[in-house]
């Protein structure tokens, strides 16, 4: 097989793309390409990965202009005329090269109260959850998020509005709104109904378009809009 001319982002926000020539292989992923450069050309190349099998959500990067999980993206699918461009995720500060600072992303999870708040202790019996209830089905449809921040990087509203909590945090909040074991819904609904919350979403649906796990955060956010609006009309939210 031939070679790929790989443009890799080097440096911080004021950095630039540099081209490396990488041998193309069968079943080669974009993460394999980055690793090849780091091990064979420049060991100072910074990037992030862990599981390599699409579970940990660490290796997301911008590939040919769109955010992707690089460990599950084959080069055969994305190389165009022998060229490939790999950059850091958008909408996040660049630490170095392909590694972004994910603190704003996870701080917004906290701000959305997208954290499970159980009402039982280990001394209580395990609660039985019926998998067929409407609430559980809604939670299950949104639960497989791997925190990769692809949706956050793809979101126009995140780019325009620094206060916007983003699709991943709101999607997680929606799973908890539908979790009968959770006890923090009044506070959670208040958090997602404030400025920068679910009502800032324009429903462009880039999140569901790019989500590697085929989740639909736009639908989750629409659910939050309905729930918060009902709570507001009942006088439960200011």
């Amino acid at each position: 097989m031939g070679e790929i001319a790989v443009s890799l982002w080097r440096g911080k926000a004021d950095g630039s793309y540099q081209v490396y020539r990488v041998p193309q292989r069968d079943n080669q992923t974009v993460l394999d390409v980055v690793t090849w450069v780091q091990r064979n050309v420049d060991p100072t190349l910074a990037y992030r990965f862990a599981c390599r099998v699409g579970m940990c959500g660490s290796c997301a990067m911008t590939v040919n202009g769109r955010p992707r999980w690089t460990c599950r993206t084959h080069t055969a699918k994305v190389v165009k005329n022998g060229n490939l461009e790999i950059g850091p995720l958008a909408n996040l500060p660049i630490i170095k090269d392909l590694a972004c600072d994910l603190r704003p992303f996870f701080e917004k999870w906290q701000k959305a109260r997208a954290v499970f708040s159980p009402g039982l202790t280990r001394k209580d019996a395990i609660e039985r959850i019926m998998p067929t209830t409407a609430a559980r089905l809604a939670a299950d449809a949104a639960i497989e998020c791997i925190n990769c921040a692809v949706c956050y990087a793809a979101c126009d509203t995140v780019r325009w509005n620094a206060d916007y909590l983003g699709p991943a945090a709101l999607n997680r909040a929606w799973t908890l709104v539908n979790d009968v074991r959770d006890t923090a819904n009044p506070q959670r609904l208040a958090a997602v109904a404030a400025a920068g919350g679910c009502h800032a979403c324009h429903s462009h649906q880039s999140c569901q378009q790019h989500c590697p796990n085929a989740l639909n955060p736009t639908a989750s956010i629409a659910g939050l809009k309905r729930h918060t609006m009902q709570a507001y009309l009942k006088g439960e939210l200011e």
Partner: protein
């Protein structure tokens, strides 16, 4: 945008939709009949119905547009704080004043 503004903007849009259709219908009707300005004014002057109809339309449009301008300003210019609320109120009051002036011109003699 918070939930209060969201509800207000959606409610004003839902309220405005049928009024807008009636408004367009009136325009087509008046055009197709070849009404002059005097013909139209003869029907609207002193009319409580048309005065109330367009006053409600103006209130909904001013509410809806002012909240929309607030969102656009915050996203395009990163405008925040109380002055952003002041912009929304100023926009809403200006639109309401312009609308009420127009309604008064065709309803009051």
């Amino acid at each position: 945008m918070n939930v209060r503004l969201y509800v207000l903007q959606r409610a004003s849009a839902a309220f405005m939709a049928p009024l807008l259709l009636i408004h367009l219908g009136v325009i087509f009707y008046a055009s197709s009949r070849g009404f002059s300005a005097a013909d139209i004014l003869a029907r609207t002057r002193g009319s409580l119905f048309w005065g109330g109809f367009y006053a409600a339309f103006v209130a909904a449009a001013a509410t809806h547009a002012a909240i929309g301008v607030r969102v656009i300003a915050s996203e395009w210019t990163r405008w925040r704080g109380r002055s952003l609320g002041a912009l929304m109120w100023a926009c809403g009051l200006l639109l309401a004043a312009l609308g009420v002036t127009a309604v008064a011109a065709v309803v009051l003699t």
